[in-house]
Amino acid sequence: MHLEKGKISNFQLSVLIIGFIFGASVIIAPGQGAGHDAWIAIALGLIEGLLIAWIFTALARHFKGKTLVEINSLVYGKFLGNFISILFIWYLFHLGALVLNNYSRFLKLELYPATPKILTLILIMLVCASSVRRGIEVLARCSLILVTLTVFVVIFDTLLVAPHMYLHNLLPVLEVPIGKLLWNSHATATFPFGDAVAFLMVLAFVNKPEKSRSAVFKGIVIAGLVLIIVAVRNAAVLGQMAAIYTYPSYITARVIDVGDVLTRVEVLVAVDLITMGFFKISVAYYGTVLGLAQVFNLRSYRPIILPIGILMVILALTNVSNTAEMFDFANKGYPIYTIPFQIAIPLITLLLAKLRKLPQTGGEQA
């Protein structure tokens, strides 16, 4: 019995991953702590992120057509497996809530100072819910169009802002102390790249599982390159202010001014944020409801979509008490907090599976 009928192609998987990684990272500039060396931090983080991806894709390839929950119950047995699955599902749930939170904060600060956060949260959540209800296939299809648009917008922004770029702002290279650099690169590895571990709930529905790893890598690398471009752009345009602004990309878009006509286009960035966030939230959301449905072995994940959505909104509303804490968590706590979910669980599961020669019956039947 499968809860998800749909199948997605590897190409769609890559695109979906790109959208997922753009998710919040277009708002919270990754590696901002490294100042004008952010792009180096991202580049290093990209490599580490690829390692993380290597682990979980290895796991997914080992059990073709199985989501992490099914894998866990195979490897650890029903009880322990479900327990670990619940942990992982919590991570997904929390991830969704965090992204939601970022969004509501961004919107409140930049566009809707007077609108209560709860409203924007609920609306975004509703849109995500209706897409999650339609299944992963529909998400993947949307991703192709929206991600293409986003990439175009990023390129467009970069070209328009080119006259305001001063590449010497990037000098001297590698000014930050190495420890700080490594920390920031690890931070970028866990957010946004490492978050792709959420796709352990999705990789089961790829039509050619043997190719899925290269697809995941493609997605991560492309997204990483775009992020590097964005980081370079922001540093080159904003100079040292890039490390000070809360949302550098947004401010960079504000700098655009072509002959007093093609100006004030920052809203394009804002729309990007909304759409890409939609993907990150939706994938986390999807993973959560699907995982729960599998843990409690329901016949469909549809009934619990709305309740979980509500809980996510509530967590997003209450999980941090102010923006400073949000960024503090993003810079300090998150890189540690995610290690168990992004690295430990997949790695240990994989090793155990290898040791116990699982799956005997071969997890081929998708």
Partner: protein, 69 residues
Amino acid sequence: MSALVLIGFGAIALIQIPGLVRKQWWRELICFTVFWSLGLVLAVILSMGIKLPPLTTIINETITGILKI
């Protein structure tokens, strides 16, 4: 505010429960009810203006506290 919350939750229940009952998906129904009521409780608490503990902050503080970052 609480009235709105109740309306919203009532609407969700109205959307979901009849179908589940018709299909006799009791397990799903239980699952739904659990999450739904959990959400309801929390929402009512919030709407009454009581602050819930900020989970992420707690996580952050524990981690940073342990690792002395």
